[in-house]
């Protein structure tokens, strides 16, 4: 049996942190992706420009650099804000910018940009006839979006969401660099203390492998469900 030298519970806690981080970031990313895609497809030039700038900037910068910027920069910004509040209102206000929040914000922002592209493509894949029909029935814009666009675009977006999720899951490992005690961090500390790198990193690698493999199966199942009633050619 695998002997984790007493680090077992800590590794398990770390795995839970990793999973929480991944799901919260996914929620942020999907929200930002829907907003971004709507902005890109809108007629408003300002919204379009803002969304395009957002996706271009995110795709040009490494995730780790962005994370370091938000983590260290976020703390400095909070400190400046709290100084300002103290000087003007004499209110003592301070909080520590923690790695978990920085991680969720950064990963959410990065994958929000990828989701924007995924959702944009998926919205465009919905036939215009469907939207025209909804309008002809007197649906409002919001109604059209919720009842017609959203359910039909999800089918096209699913494969993209699945890919993004797989990459996102692996990106969560980076948050250990800014000090979050996820399973990578625990394994690193254990490996250094016990001088047994293989012993701790390989089980963690297998947890990631299990997570990605499990997600793959789940996404396949979702895809199958979403495509019920669609006859595929070829």
């Amino acid at each position: 049996m695998l002997d984790l030298k007493g680090y077992g519970p800590a590794l398990l806690d770390g795995a839970v942190v990793t999973i929480e981080l991944a799901f919260l970031s996914l929620a942020v990313a999907i929200t930002l992706g829907l907003i971004g895609a709507s902005a890109k497809l809108s007629d408003n030039r300002l919204a379009k420009g803002a969304a395009t700038t957002y996706t271009t900037l995110i795709r040009g910068v490494p995730d780790l650099v962005m994370m370091l910027l938000f983590y260290y920069g976020g703390q400095v910004a909070v400190n400046m804000l709290s100084d300002h509040i103290w000087e003007t209102y004499e209110i003592d206000f301070f909080f520590q910018f923690d790695p978990f929040i920085s991680g969720v914000v950064t990963i959410g922002l990065i994958f929000g940009a990828y989701m924007t592209e995924t959702f944009r493509g998926a919205f465009l894949a919905v036939e215009t006839g469907q939207i025209e029909a909804a309008r002809a029935y007197g649906f409002t814009r919001f109604h059209t979006f919720r009842r017609i666009m959203l359910p039909q675009m999800l089918r096209h977006a699913l494969p993209g969401i699945g890919n993004n999720w797989q990459v996102l899951l692996k990106t969560t490992a980076l948050v250990s660099i800014i000090g979050l005690t996820d399973m990578v961090r625990v394994a690193e500390e254990a490996a250094k203390a016990e001088r047994m790198p293989f012993h701790f990193f390989i089980p963690v690698a297998f947890v990631y492998l299990a997570l990605t493999a499990g997600s793959e199966l789940f996404i396949k199942w979702l895809n199958k469900r979403a495509n019920v009633g669609v006859v595929q050619g070829g």
Partner: protein, 240 residues
């Protein structure tokens, strides 16, 4: 030069000649690391991709296993396993390999190469598998043997189909290389981290390095667009 830029340059004490040289050194390391791992990775990936398409499961199976493991786990873990793990191998410190692998650059290069080779193998495999059957039949009808078919027909046409996905992989690798800084390599991100901790100036240090990465990214995007135009010239609509 507009006044506000001159004023800002006067007041700033982060961007001196010394820190700029540090960024430059980091840029050189990043480019070397990424370029070498991509080139070696590509050279390894082509034969692996061909093996991956072979019908015999005893040949394609191990390649599948390799790509599955390396694509299913984070690069950071792979880097840690290789960086900390190599030093723990019994007796390695007495061999000449130790002269190479005690520098953090080479374990990182090995990790990045193995990682990018796994992704590239799958990209090329996808491109090989989707070769139109007619092209292969035509090659057979001309009496080409397997080797010549691969060299003259399958691989060139796979390159055209794979180049777009490969350009994404290249940019992904450039961005992923930022984690080299966690094993004490002073690449671009490493330089930025050093400068941040010296001046406690996160915005200056990291926004500047973000701009440098963006510059590299857009240069790559531009280069690949040129390459795609070149490779896909025959598919261009006549009116453009």
């Amino acid at each position: 030069m507009p006044d506000f830029i001159a004023e800002w340059l006067d007041k700033n004490d982060v961007f001196t000649a010394m820190t700029l040289m540090e960024y430059w050194g980091g840029m050189v390391t990043t480019v070397q690391l990424v370029f070498l791992s991509l080139v070696i990775g590509l050279v390894v990936a082509v034969p692996l991709a061909i093996l991956r398409t072979v019908k015999n499961p005893f040949i394609s199976g191990p390649v599948w296993f390799y790509t599955y493991i390396f694509r299913g786990t984070p690069l950071l873990i792979q880097l840690y396993i290789i960086y900390y793990g190599l030093a723990q191998i019994e007796g390695i410190q007495e061999t000449f390999w130790w002269l190479i692998f005690r520098e953090p650059f080479y374990p990182a290069l090995l990790a990045f190469t193995l990682n990018t080779a796994a992704y590239t193998t799958e990209i090329i495999r996808g491109a090989i598998v989707s070769t139109p059957n007619g092209e292969i039949e035509a090659a057979k009808a001309y009496g080409m043997n397997w080797f010549m078919r691969m060299r003259r027909i399958v691989l060139p046409s796979a390159a055209r189909r794979g180049v777009q996905a490969y350009s994404n992989e290249v940019i992904f690798m450039l961005h992923a290389s930022a984690i080299a800084s966690v094993v004490t390599i002073v690449d671009l991100t490493g330089a930025a981290r050093n400068i941040y901790s010296r001046f406690y100036a996160p915005f200056d240090a990291f926004i500047f390095v973000a701009l440098l990465y963006m510059l590299l990214t857009f240069a790559l995007v531009f280069a690949f667009r040129k390459l795609e135009n070149h490779l896909l010239k025959h598919q261009r609509p006549l009116n453009s």
